[in-house]
Symmetry: C3
Subunit: 142 residues, 3 copies
């Protein structure tokens, strides 16, 4: 468990036609922090999401090739290999009200998106490979 | 990007049979702020949600005429035409565990709802028409 | 409406194979608080969720017997019968990108989970039976 002071929160209007995952990363980069939490709502022109296969330890990506509401996109920012790393999951609402969702990957194009972000001031968490899950998880040495 | 101090957060139990969107607005009005972020969970007797058609620039509303869990209702509060404006997206869980979701509109009746709200102290964001999307978005002049 | 100072936020990596609801409770217990808000993302090996029947006032539980992404797990922590009580709702993403969700109950096994938690400093909210809904809700005596 890591404890933090919450820095100044920030809001951002992410760019039309921008890539959602990249835009969240860039917003945190502009704010000058590599630790944080965020929630976004809005809409996308199309999305690409992934499901992690817990047996073969691979992400399986699939597209959502239609406009969708971002019902919720939640996640965190930490560090991987010296770089800022955004981990985000997204829930999408389609035009008939049904939903899709998964791990957010690059390839999701923003129609409009409003980001609420909480930079966190304190120990920098770094991700490293966890043998059990095959995921790059927060280091347990704490 | 707009930076904020987080004011005192507040929790609220929203009123049984109240309208969800109106009740969130009234909670922020009572707290005396027009800027903020929130997340709510709970249940509704029925819901009305909308999908924004990115081609014809119109919201298409549709009802969810049955009780549902509020799996997540996230959004923000800013200003539109001098008034407090709540922008909320909702994910609903039906009795078989399947989900629906969209842009929250009036017509959603609360069964029980617990609101976590973060008033934000700083520049007041105002919404105005964005020609590209047809939406009333946060002003980019920042 | 109850107002709070946000204490130090905390992040936690919840234990592989742990029970999700229990692990969230234990994280707050370790942080020494009975009031708070949280959001988690990650993945589960299997889940158990519930839907509250608004007519017969009973939770109907059903399993999700397959691995799933935690698209969002949001909730709050207050007090019930002198004990810390976690109220959480979860949205799950299955391997085909479709989603399921409900009120989180014990029986949900963590694959990997990252918790963002906001302890709240102020009046301790206690839950008690609400006759109208049959739920144990935050007391209205405020």
């Amino acid at each position: 468990m890591w404890h933090y002071n919450s820095g100044k929160t920030f809001l951002d209007r992410l760019p039309h036609d921008g890539d959602l995952l990249v835009s969240i990363k860039e917003a945190f980069q502009r704010s000058g922090t590599k630790m944080g939490f965020f929630v976004a709502i809005g809409a996308v022109k199309q999305a690409k999401i992934a499901f992690y296969n817990q047996d073969d330890h691979k992400y399986h990506e699939f597209p959502v090739d239609e406009p969708a509401e971002i019902l919720n996109c939640s996640g965190n920012v930490s560090e991987l290999d010296g770089e800022i790393f955004v981990h985000a999951h997204i829930t999408l609402g389609l035009k008939d009200g049904t939903t899709r969702g998964g791990h957010l990957v690059e390839g999701t194009k923003i129609f409009a998106c409003e980001l609420f972000a909480v930079p966190l001031e304190g120990e920098q968490i770094k991700r490293s490979l966890d043998d059990v899950t095959g995921l790059k998880l927060w280091q347990a040495g704490r």
